[in-house]
């Protein structure tokens, strides 16, 4: 009975999670007439691929998707590479300065980004990075880094110091201890941080809007918004088709690395 209830609750949760995606798919396959029906249906009565044709025909979805992918992959990897050593130092060497640094990292998140967007653009332009994907990558890394750092230092802190001490007792040097003991235990945290950074960059709109001016460097969020018009009127079918495609890379990325998100690796690691 208890098991059935658990499965029921799980099924309900899955439906809850899947609803937006299924609705998006349904919308993407409907004709304009059906989209304007007063009684919407789950399954399109006359499925059409016209929305996909329109979306691909009118906008460079593939190109902008590839560019988004490049920026998101580069900025997530760079973020983790930069954040990991800093997070280790913050977590392991606890001092007043480190505590202030962590606090500052969190406080920095409350400032509205719009305040610095103009100087940021001018700096990028001066460095010949405006209107370029590397420029946007730098911006995304800068703004993802503080939270990634905060996330990772929490994961590092969860790795018992005693494991490193035990490795040292067994003759492992600092590097060996980090590579062979700490790194495998940090893998789920690193993966979670990668995911966070990837999705933040993949979905990011405002900086991309300001930094990227030319259509041939536009990322996917900038392309999607072109299906919206004045007074909040949207071209729902093509927008749904394009949005559906925009979710695929994130889903694939998550599917590829989700098994690394396992937790509980350290359960019992330091029990006497």
């Amino acid at each position: 009975m208890g098991r059935s209830l658990r499965y029921l609750a799980l099924a309900g949760y899955l439906v809850f999670l899947a609803f937006p995606l299924v609705w998006l798919l349904s919308t993407a396959l409907k004709t304009p007439q059906e989209l304007a029906s007063l009684h919407p249906t789950w399954i399109p009565r006359a499925p059409t691929s016209a929305n996909f044709t329109d979306a691909f025909g009118e906008q460079d979805l593939v190109g902008s998707g590839v560019r988004s992918l490049v920026v998101a992959a580069a900025s997530s990897v760079l973020t983790v590479v930069l954040a990991l050593p800093a997070a280790y130092a913050l977590a392991r060497h606890r001092s007043l300065v480190n505590r202030i640094a962590i606090g500052w990292v969190l406080v920095s998140q409350v400032f509205p980004f719009i305040l610095i967007i103009i100087p940021l653009f001018m700096v990028l332009r001066g460095l010949d990075l405006a209107n370029t994907l590397p420029g946007l990558t730098v911006v995304h890394v800068t703004f993802t880094l503080p939270f990634a750092l905060w996330m990772l230092q929490g994961y590092v802190r969860a790795v018992p110091r005693e494991l490193e001490e035990a490795a040292a007792m067994d003759g492992a040097g600092r590097v060996r201890s980090l590579v062979s003991v700490v790194a495998p235990l940090l893998a789920p945290g690193v993966v979670a941080t990668l995911l966070f950074s990837f999705i933040s960059s993949w979905n990011e709109f405002l900086f991309a809007l300001i930094v990227l001016k030319d259509p041939d460097v536009a990322t996917l969020p900038l392309t999607l918004v072109k299906f919206t018009g004045a007074e909040g009127v949207v071209r729902l079918g093509p927008l749904a088709a394009a949005s559906l495609l925009a979710t695929i890379p994130s889903l694939l990325f998550f599917a590829l690395i989700q098994r690394r998100l396992k937790s509980g690796l350290m359960a019992g690691a330091v029990k006497g």
Binding site: A36, V123, R125, L209, E231, G232
Partner: protein, 431 residues
């Protein structure tokens, strides 16, 4: 973050010292100007791209790069571009946005640079929508107005015919009284006579208020602008409210909707009539179920049929390195025959007199004849010249009108709020 800002500012100083502007092209060298368009409907994008391609083919020395922007965020994007000194050369926007941009010196004053043919082809009331103070006490023209919107009524033809009501014409439109009576007549069973989508009520109410001479703003001899809500301004407010709660011929559940949201109910026969901007006809053509018959009815008449109007515009950035070339392109892009293509693409009204006379603009199909004829009633919206209007609209007028239409406050309370709270807002801008 603050540290980053300081760093950015420091780098900015460094950059300002080091960065050099790209040299302007020599007179005979080919130049490329950037044109940011906000076209978003399929036909409209196609028309824009076709015209750009035509220009580029005929003008190898002035090439135009087409950039598609979005109405959703254009003003944020433009402010940043202007501040950073990197705006597109030719900018598509609407006239309410130009006022602020003009006073800050972002846009070129084209008052003395407009080609005579273009100037004479667009009536003065349309030019008035792009004439603003330059921030230094003078007046300038900061764009070329090319598309306008009027408020018409889109109606279910079968329901109207079944009710046996008089069909209005552009020369003999319905009065507001007739409209109220007919709405009552059409309200039967599950059908409401009318749906008033009032998610964003302010511009709609203010534009329609001119039917009764309501302007909502007055400026004294000293140039000070204040809000006024007298008998003229109350007319449209009261009439819509009466339809909702006295006649019960308007569906209160449509109040929270955006302009296009009542369309499903309209197709399903839940609403017989839908007061809307002329552009909504495109949605009806695209979405209406097979066999659905609809018509476009001319604007309603109060003591007159005047409506406030704003315009879509093309402007040239003050920072453009190629202002002359940009203006040449604008003149080509907005000539009479091209305005026909643009108007058809966006389902709006061309400002060009030549364009308005084109057979495509006067065809009966899809209500073009009625829509085009409604342009004669358009006058510059009084709020367009009011400094502080945006703040008054968002902080005072929108919530107040929404409360009124939700029947939570009386019309006297509306008047008091709009005036008292509104004048406090405008006071700051008057100083």
């Amino acid at each position: 973050m603050r540290m980053r800002t300081a760093l950015a500012a420091g780098l900015l100083v460094l950059v300002a010292g080091c960065a050099s502007e790209p040299p302007a092209a020599a007179p005979d060298e080919p130049v490329t100007i950037k044109f940011q368009s906000l076209a978003w409907q399929k036909e409209s994008i196609a028309a824009n791209k076709e015209l750009v391609a035509e220009w580029n083919k005929a003008n190898p020395k002035i090439q135009v790069e087409y950039i598609q922007g979005s109405w959703d965020n254009v003003n944020d994007q433009l402010v940043t571009s202007f501040e950073a000194g990197d705006p597109p050369d030719v900018i598509h926007d609407d006239s309410p946005a130009l006022s602020g941009f003009a006073s800050r010196g972002y846009l070129m004053d084209i008052k003395d640079k407009i080609p005579a043919e273009l100037k004479s082809d667009i009536p003065q009331p349309a030019w008035d929508t792009v004439t603003f103070g330059d921030g230094k006490g003078g007046q300038g023209v900061y764009g070329v107005p090319f598309l306008q919107e009027s408020q018409v009524t889109i109606a279910n033809k079968k329901l109207l015919e079944a009710a046996g009501v008089r069909m209005p014409t552009s020369d003999d439109p319905w009065t507001w009284d007739e409209f109220a009576e007919i709405s009552k007549k059409l309200t039967k069973g599950d059908t409401y006579g009318v749906a008033w989508p009032m998610k964003s009520p302010v511009n709609k109410v203010l534009n329609l208020a001119l039917n009764f001479g309501g302007t909502f703003f007055q400026t004294d001899a000293g140039g000070k602008t204040t809000v006024k809500v007298g008998a003229e301004e109350r007319e449209v407010l009261q009439r819509i409210h009466d339809q909702l709660y006295k006649d019960r011929s308007a569906d209160p559940s449509a109040l929270g909707m955006g302009s296009a949201d009542p369309l499903p109910g309209f197709y399903a026969g839940k609403y017989a009539m839908l007061p809307a901007g002329v552009y909504l006809r495109q949605q009806v053509v695209e979405q209406a179920p097979d066999g659905f018959e609809w018509i476009t009815l001319p604007p309603l008449k109060g003591v007159g049929s005047e409506q406030g109007a704003v315009s879509q515009t093309l402007s040239v950035a003050a920072d453009s390195k190629y202002p002359e070339q940009s203006l040449k392109f604008v003149s080509f892009f907005l000539n009479g025959s091209n305005q026909v293509k643009l108007a058809k693409g966006d389902w709006l009204l061309p400002t060009s007199v030549k364009a308005a006379g084109d057979p495509a603009m006067t065809a009966e199909e899809n209500g073009w004849n009625v829509a085009t004829a409604s342009a004669k009633n358009l006058v510059v919206a009084p709020f367009l010249k009011v400094n502080g209007f945006d703040e008054w609209k968002s902080k005072v007028a929108t919530p107040t009108l929404q409360q009124y239409f939700a029947n939570k406050i009386t019309i006297d309370e509306v008047a008091k709020k709009l005036v008292d709270e509104g004048n406090k807002v405008l006071e700051r801008y008057n100083q």
